[in-house]
């Protein structure tokens, strides 16, 4: 009688977790894209990968492969865009970071990033340390263990077993809290500004949101990654990694 609603709950839980991963049919497109990539048919590979995106599905690996494909086609702008998108899903992936660095070297702009306060860098490193899915599982399992331990401790107080259960539960609670904050920061996008990649071969940067030639300050080139600020009609305020600020037509950017 008391157990029945709990069992229902658990069933819903598993179903909920599983449905997020079950998407039949996309595997075929992914394999097709990979095959075309290996055959050197990069246009075809892009088309195959794009069908998965059209179906409303994404994955870090998918974005990574798309980035590679555009790189091979010599389109540095889209390559960096997809690498950046992949980075949102798998921030610490070694292959991804290597390819992104290589793509950046091929861009025309040599932008020296402003030095960052070491604490912010350390926090960013920590937040990006564990891949998202692993992090979610880790937090979930630790949370369940802590709750289970708490239940045992409530129901069987004072027994020798309860002592160990309590210690385990405390440890699990610590892990859940620590990584839970990490997960929350990443999911809520705290401290992660909206970025964009320059798609145009050369985009004029104006000192104000206007196409007046006299207001032109400098130019950014394809593949430059910028932070997006205010918007004004068709114009976006951008902040370069070296702190330079200007306005660019929105059509020349693609938000990550």
């Amino acid at each position: 009688m008391t157990l029945r609603p709990f069992r229902t709950l658990m069933t819903t839980l598993w179903l909920g977790l599983l449905t997020s991963g079950v998407c039949a049919g996309q595997e075929a497109f992914f394999d097709e894209g990979n095959q075309r990539y290996q055959d050197g048919d990069f246009e075809g590979a892009v088309a195959s990968y794009a069908r998965i995106l059209e179906a409303g599905l994404e994955s870090g690996d998918l974005y990574y492969n798309l980035g590679n494909t555009y790189f091979k086609r010599g389109e540095i702008g889209p390559a960096i865009l997809y690498y950046e998108r992949a980075r949102g899903l798998m921030p610490a992936d070694d292959d991804l970071l290597a390819n992104l660095a290589l793509a950046r070297q091929l861009t025309a702009d040599d932008i020296t990033p402003l030095p960052q306060f070491w604490l912010f860098r350390a926090v960013r490193w920590w937040v990006d340390l564990v891949p998202r899915s692993t992090l979610a599982w880790l937090v979930g399992v630790a949370y369940l263990i802590a709750a289970g331990g708490l239940i045992v401790w409530i129901l069987k107080p004072g027994t020798p077993m309860a002592l160990w259960v309590r210690r385990g539960a405390t440890a699990a609670a610590g892990v859940a809290l620590l990584f839970g904050i990490n997960l929350a920061v990443r999911e809520l996008g705290i401290g992660a500004p909206q970025k964009a990649v320059v798609m145009a071969t050369e985009a004029d940067v104006q000192s104000a949101p206007s196409g007046d030639n006299a207001l032109r300050i400098f130019a950014v080139h394809e593949g430059a990654t910028v932070r997006m600020g205010r918007r004004s009609d068709d114009w976006v305020e951008i902040v370069l990694e070296d702190g330079t600020v200007g306005w660019v037509e929105a059509t020349q950017l693609e938000p990550i």
Partner: protein, 597 residues
């Protein structure tokens, strides 16, 4: 003797001091004359301006411009005194020395001399400059010098050389007159040559015989020349001004060994030009040839050969040889790409020798290896043209092997920008992911997924349930009334079930007993009372005290009463009535349970 001469000097000075006094008041006159009226080209002549009756001029005399045919060399002043019949006359003479530079007959205009408040003017003069070197310089004491007595000979070490081959030119002075010193007035023009000035020779004066005449001779200048292009090259004359010592001609009273003085007179002499034939280098030069001519050697060394990566070591490249060592450019070094080679520190040292210059040029490089391993450095090659054998040659150094330990180190990024060249060729992106990834809907957030909320909330509910369960068990354990109350329904149901099993006419007494027990026990458990001693009035008062309404109490008590009465009634029971009894009892207890809670 010495004492006597000093006495004579003192006496003379005293006499001049006494005798000068009456000089003032005499008329002043100026006169100009030449040391010779005919002079050879390039010979010197002296324009003398003699002012009588004065010791000092108000200003320098104005000499007419003679630049059309003569070059001004210098001037000097002298005074002389003469005593005639007890009268003393003072004469001031200014001598202007010139060198004749143009042939022909020339007039020398009047010289104006400002003296004693008036301007004196001399008469104009005429001079003839001839192409022939004049004989004895007019025989005058103030004339030029005989070219056979004082001349400079320029001697090249070779008259035919290759381009960039060294040739030494030696300038030697020959003299039969006394020369106190000299200074160079004109450097020879050296267009078309790279000049290496050789240090002044220290040989001193030597006696040499030339054309059967003995001269005192000395080397005054030596240069090493490296012709920069082929053809016939002319080296201009070297001109010096020599200080020739001449015996002063004394007059009158002081014409005496005691007063015999000498003075220096500047004389300008020039060397002849030097012609050198320069031939171009033969064809067939080695690829690395940079134009060096001479004999060269090249040697390389490191300050050590065992080291770790990222250690700085010094690589020394030394080029030695004869020839234009200063023009040696650093040869190609065969360092591998993972060596960082910094620009060299260059030192050179050049010394003359009989046939030109020799020396060494040292290039010291700081080298930092970035990768470990044994590295065999290829020999350094230096191509040159050997002027002795008239053939090209290549000097090579011995190969060196470096043993580098440690880990490979990424070279720091180049200064001032990236090295973009060849990145795409050397590096490639890493391969795509083949393993099937897990796809998820675009834009999903963890907070929108069901699983997240289930995982978040289910344990909270479970913990809440556990807490409730634990509290329940605690009450069961410690509170009899609570326990009996919680048990009441269950026991009552068991008894009713038992009663139902007895629902047959022959067992109707047991049936009703069981129903009565169920009813009574339920109340006892609920109210935590001893059921045996319960009287109906007590039951009523207890229930009223618990706030149970009479509508509930009355059917219950009626039901209880019925069951008692039926138990002892003789009437044969009716199964339908028994079933109704059960229903009534159940309903009564349900109502009571609700009324009590």
């Amino acid at each position: 003797m010495t004492l006597g001469r000093r006495l004579a000097s003192v006496l003379a000075t005293a006499m001049i001091g006494l005798l000068c006094f009456p000089v003032f008041g005499l008329a002043q006159t100026a006169r100009a004359y030449l040391s010779q009226n005919e002079v050879g080209l390039n010979q010197q002549f002296v324009l003398n301006v003699e002012v009588a009756g004065i010791q000092q001029l108000d200003a320098d005399p104005t000499v007419p411009d003679l630049s059309a045919f003569a070059a001004y060399l210098g001037s000097g002043t002298s005074t002389s005194m003469q005593m005639t019949n007890g009268r003393t006359s003072v004469t001031l003479t200014i001598q202007y020395q010139f060198q004749a530079t143009g042939e022909g007959q020339f007039n020398i205009g009047p010289v104006t001399v400002p003296a004693a408040g008036q301007t004196l003017t001399t008469d104009p003069l005429t001079i003839r400059v001839t192409s022939a070197r004049s004989g004895r310089g007019g025989g005058g004491a103030d004339g030029g010098v005989d070219p056979d007595d004082l001349f400079i000979i320029a001697t090249p070490s070779k008259e035919a050389v290759y381009v960039n081959e060294s040739v030494t030119v030696e300038y030697r002075i020959f003299t039969r007159v006394n020369v106190d010193g000299y200074n160079l007035t004109e450097q020879p023009s050296t267009a078309g040559f790279w000049v290496e000035e050789l240090p002044d020779p220290v040989g001193g004066v030597e006696q040499m015989v030339r054309n059967g005449v003995q001269y005192a001779s000395s080397v005054i200048r030596r240069v090493a020349l490296f012709p920069t292009s082929s053809g016939r090259k002319t080296l201009g004359p070297l001109t010096i001004e020599a200080q020739m010592r001449v015996q002063r001609r004394s007059r009158g009273f002081f014409d005496d060994p005691f007063f015999g003085r000498s003075r220096n007179r500047p004389v300008v002499i020039a060397s002849d030009t030097v012609e050198i034939d320069v031939s171009a280098l033969p064809t067939g030069e080695p690829p690395s040839f940079t134009g060096l001519v001479g004999q060269f050697d090249v040697a390389t060394s490191f300050d050590r050969t065992d080291l770790n990566t990222n250690d700085a070591l010094t690589f020394r490249l030394e080029v030695t040889g004869t020839g234009n060592i200063r023009t040696v450019v650093a040869p190609e070094l065969g360092f591998p790409g993972d060596f960082e080679v910094y620009p060299p520190d260059v030192t050179e040292q050049v010394e003359p020798f009989s046939d030109g210059v020799r020396g060494r040029k040292v290039f010291e490089y700081v080298v930092v290896p970035r990768a470990p391993g044994d590295v065999a450095l290829p020999p350094v090659e230096l191509a040159y043209f050997n002027s002795d054998t008239d053939a090209y040659a290549v000097a090579t150094s011995a190969p060196i092997t470096l043993r580098i330990a440690g880990d490979a180190i990424d070279a720091p990024a180049g200064v001032g920008g990236r090295r973009r060249t060849g990145i795409a060729a050397q590096q490639d992106i890493r391969f795509i992911r083949i393993a099937m990834p897990t796809f998820r809907p675009i834009g999903t957030s963890l907070f929108r997924s069901l699983g997240f909320w289930v995982v978040l909330l289910a344990p909270l509910l479970a913990v809440a349930g556990a807490v409730a369960m634990q509290r329940h068990q605690d009450r069961l354990r410690g509170d009899v009334a609570y326990a009996r109350g919680r048990r009441a329904s269950r026991l009552a149901k068991q008894r009713l079930a038992k009663a139902e099993s007895l629902r047959s006419p022959d067992k109707h007494r047991d049936f009703h007993a069981e129903v009565g027990r169920a009813l009574q026990g339920f109340l006892g458990d609920k109210l935590n009372l001893a059921e045996a001693g319960l009287v109906r009035d007590q039951m009523r008062s207890h229930l009223i005290a618990r706030g149970v309404s009479d509508d509930v109490i009355a059917p219950y008590l009626a039901c209880l009463e019925d069951s008692d009465r039926q138990r002892f009634a003789p009437t044969e029971p009716d199964p339908v009535a028994m079933q109704e009894m059960l229903t009534r009892a159940g309903q009564a207890m349900t109502d009571l349970d609700q009324g009590l809670s």
